[in-house]
Chain length 233, copies 2
DNA sequence: CCTACCGATCGGTAGG
DNA sequence: CCTACCGATCGGTAGG
């Protein structure tokens, strides 16, 4: 084999190793958190020695930042693709929930905690911006459309503005306690698909976000209970 | 001073020191997580040397477990008191949100992460049970009442069962990104209290949970979209 | 409740 | 990409 061929192969392998490190680090960081994952764990899982990592990434923090950049980039692409689809608000929200459930099994709040508490202020600011422009903004654009078209309640009528709706949406995603929070209720001994009630988790979540838990037009009267503010005189 | 008086004072001081450690450890653990808080940090914040902690608690894990026990116990009392109040479902939920916002500024999902990943299986099981009986159960009893009285949509009609509703409720609580997710929208240059729209965060959250973001009876038709299951044949 | 100290593990570097 | 190694910090113990 010529030197040229050998070097090309080495370059490819090097890039492959880099990708392996990124994927492995992502899994570990997202499951256990930045602090709890050691550089030796990552190296072991890649079949490398720990110092070898420092050939590919300057330090642990840089590796973490690259992981988040990669992850956020992919998610942003997928979300913008979904946002532009020719579907209703609800359906596009369902698609986003399914995408996030399938790709990131982790709790996103852990990632945010690490960004706030374990990183340099500079990196923190960078990743916060990535999070907002990559995840919050596409989501908010859907909610904004819903508000403009009158499908969603206007902020001045007791609704949420688009950005806050996006944050609330994100906060509803995590599986609580590592066990799925939204299991389908089994009523009676018959199979779940009996009454045509097998509602998927993603759909259930969007249902609640859009229409709430209350029976329509029944029970207590609080619907758009606009608080008269000037109590305090 | 007699020996007896001195010894009594010492015993009181000892208990006081123990409480100081518990309060300090709670703040640190809840803000930064189990792993990120060192026993030396806790000791420093209490004005003690690090080995002194081991006079009061067998080890770091035991201290953490005691913190959670104390915390959960107080919260359980408060929640059960609120549950028994003579108020509507929505108002009691608002009171619970306010209580949790005022007492625990932290993200509860971090506590759950630490319980799942940083503790012995035995302690994990214990604290999971405490979490369920202390926080989920009281909340679920409110939702169950709402379902029984017909105020909340029945699980067989596309609603959530009481336990899952409780989990969802808890997951909606955290302030996202350490910044409040539900800021009140300011519309126009006028003061926020202009149109009588100053809706408090706790109330806003309960509003969304109960009635959703959608305009009532407007836009897409998905209200109780019961999925016909036998698509796959 | 202190001083002194332990073994283990951490992130990172030197040098090849 | 490895071996060898560094200083710092961790949770915890000994002994008083």
């Amino acid at each position: 084999m010529s030197r040229g061929a050998k070097r090309a192969a080495t370059r490819e392998e090097s890039e492959e190793t880099r990708q392996t490190i990124l994927r492995t680090a992502e899994q570990l960081f997202m499951e256990y958190g930045y602090r709890a994952v050691s550089t030796r764990q990552i190296a072991d899982a890649c079949g490398l020695t720990q110092p070898a990592l420092y050939h590919y990434f300057a330090d642990k923090q840089t590796l973490y930042v690259e992981v988040i950049k990669e992850n956020t980039g992919k998610t942003q692409s997928a979300m913008e693709r979904i946002v532009r689809r020719n579907e209703g608000i609800a359906e596009r929200l369902r698609l986003i929930v399914r995408y996030l459930y399938n790709t990131t099994q982790h709790d996103i709040s852990q990632m945010l905690h690490d960004i706030q508490h374990e990183l340099d202020p500079q990196m923190r600011e960078l990743l916060n911006q990535l999070f907002i422009t990559g995840l919050i903004a596409p989501l908010a654009s859907i909610f904004e459309e819903g508000i403009q078209t009158g499908f969603l309640r206007h902020p001045s009528m007791g609704g949420l503005d688009a950005t806050n709706a996006a944050y609330l949406f994100m906060s509803m995603l995590p599986r609580f306690l590592s066990r799925p929070p939204l299991t389908v209720p089994e009523h009676g001994p018959s199979h779940a698909s009996r009454h045509g009630l097998k509602i998927e988790q993603a759909e259930m979540l969007v249902q609640v976000l859009l229409y709430g838990l209350a029976e329509q037009g029944v029970g207590e009267r609080h619907q758009v209970e606009t608080v008269d503010s000037d109590h305090t005189l």
